[in-house]
Amino acid sequence: MALEFRDLTAPRWNGTSPPHGLLPVPPEVEQVVAREKVRLQPFMDQAAEQRTRDDLTLQYYFEDTLIAYRRTPQGVEVVAVGLDEIGELVKKIPPEQRPDVVIGRP
């Protein structure tokens, strides 16, 4: 099976209730993105930069948490968090009305 390593010192969100909607990009994430842009030139184009920012933002807020989200040009939008909310989402909104929503654990 896949072995994963988790950096317990990585900055992460520690609020009380998980955020929904468009996720604000934490300053720590922007710092990493800026560093990676320099390190990975000339291969880090706009799409790769956006993907890196979105992935790090998801990890910051929701690492190993089951969520439903969509990627938008403005960033990551979270529509459901946890098994119960995702169960409700699946029951109430048919898939064709949420075509870009993906479910998984970042």
């Binding site: 099976m1 896949a2 072995l3 994963e4 390593f5 950096d7 317990l8 010192t9 990585a10 900055p11 990493v32 990676e36 990975l40 000339p42 291969f43 880090m44 184009d45 799409a47 790769a48 993907r51 890196t52 992935d55 790090l56 990890q59 190993d64 948490t65 089951l66 098994l83 995702i86 169960g87 699946v90 048919p94 898939p95 064709e96 929503v101 993906v102 479910i103 998984g104 654990r105």
Partner: protein
């Protein structure tokens, strides 16, 4: 032959500065209602069988065997795992590849009615997959894919 290239993803550890690579793939999974749900899978050549938490499969309303296989457990790093394993299948399309509905064998792990104590991810293993889709990893950096690409080809 339909093919799809996806970027290999990288995560830099704050602690060591190491870049950890992974490959992920979104699959459309057919539900009991004959609708399609999107779920992403970690592509893992080290995994013998595609796996998915049974609790996630239940919430997504995926078809799944009612009963676990007696005596079947999953080996985990550091020891033998405990818990239930249901041997089933997933009916899946690979968005961006073509509209073929593949049938992949899948083990649904854990209790469908309980959130797993650990946080397993969906894993796409080799069995019943690589005879249908050729998966190649190429670490050559190209614009937009600084860590290289994963190539999927329908066989």
């Amino acid at each position: 032959m339909p093919s799809l290239k996806l970027p290999i993803l990288g995560k830099t550890l704050w602690l060591t500065g190491d870049v950890l690579l992974r490959a992920e793939l979104t699959l459309l999974l057919r539900t009991n209602q004959q609708t399609w749900e999107s779920a992403f899978f970690r592509v893992d050549p080290g995994t013998e069988m595609t796996t998915m938490p049974a609790s996630d499969a239940k919430k997504l309303d995926l078809p799944m065997p009612q009963n676990p296989v007696p005596g079947l457990v999953m080996n985990l790093p550091g020891g033998q795992g405990t818990g239930e394993v249901r041997a089933g299948i997933i009916r899946a399309q690979v968005p961006g590849l073509d509209n073929t509905e593949h049938i992949f064998p899948c083990y649904f792990v854990g209790d469908p009615n309980q959130v797993p104590p650990t946080t397993p991810k969906n894993l796409l293993g080799l069995s019943g997959v690589v005879d249908k889709i050729r998966i190649t990893f190429d670490g050559t950096a190209v614009p937009g894919c600084p860590y290289g690409q994963m190539l999927l080809e329908k066989i």
